[in-house]
Symmetry: D2
Subunit: 147 residues, 4 copies
């Protein structure tokens, strides 16, 4: 697969991400999903650094990953992040993990999130940060159309 | 919670496992589950190092984790590994992650596995490694009783 | 080597700490040194969590490591931390990394540290936290005798 | 600093690379140096994957790092790798770690390496792999001129 389209987060696999089975250790896919998610935040005009400065934190509530084909050192990952649900309290993303030059889905995953403040209390975005709520809403709406 | 029972894998949380939200980064729970799983392999008379020497590898097919309460630096993890399914081709474990001195379930998860050889082809344990099959079977049977 | 003595920080090597060379990835030794250092802090009556609560942070200024013999999955690390210098502004530790059941030095290293507050400004312990200064001083003095 | 020149390895800092001091954990710089080193291998016509396929492994003998200014999440790293010594048996690199948009050296480091085969025995490149020896030699020579 050769995906130049913007919506794919792209990066090489590092040596230190392999294990003695000579494949990427499965825990690293959870990190790849985070990288891809925050890359797409940026692309949609949402800087995670800015959110934290305003006191908005977005922890992970659940994660799952299905490993279909091993990823190897020096391969280039191509990760598609699909925003699937957002209601101002929770949100959910799906992920498709490909490798450059190959048409196979190597892994797919999901993460669910909520919004909390510095004291780790839930935030209701629509009320407390209506502007940020609108940006997220827009992002999720736009992707719905694409899907 | 203070669980001295043998079945809990126990270890402290390291500084490098935290992130700037001042909690353990969610990807590390996947690693904790692996640590706990291999600890229980050992306790059940199965050395993962020996398995690999015989050409048996046990990759992760799926993983999921539900994060309920953040874990913090310097806390002591107590992880319960519950073998839930084994048929010689696939197996499945559940995990309960606690923290010493607190009665709350901090996280729970699941992993599914298969058995492959060095060429990454599936192994049918019962036929190819009947002795190891029996050890696994025994382990899963014993736990069924406990559950 | 079988070192039951208290001064050795002891823990097993995890699968996810290996790389495709089938040895522990060299970056992890820097993490092992941190684990061993904070373990010895605890043993000397210094809780790093407490220090941070009081606004004392101890970043690493320099690190070095010399790799002599590879460490492998499932081996048990035995790490000796030697406090070598402390003047209330900076401090320095040496590390000797062994593996259980083997008399060879697998790696040795050094770290240098300073003391800073939440605003990342240097702290002069002797003036600002005389009690903590005394605990550190005592620790470094005691070890000088042992050396 | 804005360095578009090819010789700088460039990549963003990930969230999972921070710790609860809200800076990049010091162990990750050792990984950044590896990433930058292998990037420059590629740029010099040396694929580390190809080397391993031929049975050439390049472990790290020593590493050191001096931390001058913390790196933060979302910053873009710019890493300069300087080949400083090569004799076919050992080699040495220096590293300068910058952050985009800032003229300060954030960290500098060094690594030393040797060449070994699958049995972990030393390789003398000049004799055993004269072509690869020439590519490395060329690379080190070219950089000497630049320095």
């Amino acid at each position: 697969m050769n995906k130049d389209e913007n919506r794919y987060y792209q990066r090489k696999i590092n040596y230190y991400e392999t294990d003695q089975m000579s494949i990427v250790h499965h825990s690293n896919y959870i990190r790849f999903m985070e990288e891809a998610r925050l890359f797409h935040f940026n692309n949609s005009g949402i800087s995670y650094t800015d959110l934290e400065k305003r006191g908005i934190y977005i922890p992970v509530l659940t994660v799952n990953c299905e490993y279909r084909k091993a990823c190897l050192f020096d391969q280039t990952l191509l990760i598609n992040v699909i925003p699937v649900f957002f209601n101002g309290i929770k949100m959910k993303f799906k992920y498709e993990i490909f490798v450059e030059g190959d048409n196979v889905l190597h892994a797919k995953g999901e993460t669910e999130h909520c919004f909390i403040n510095k004291e780790r209390k839930p935030i209701y975005l629509k009320k407390e940060f209506p502007q940020i709520y609108q940006i997220f809403l827009q992002w999720f709406e736009n992707n719905k159309v694409i899907l």
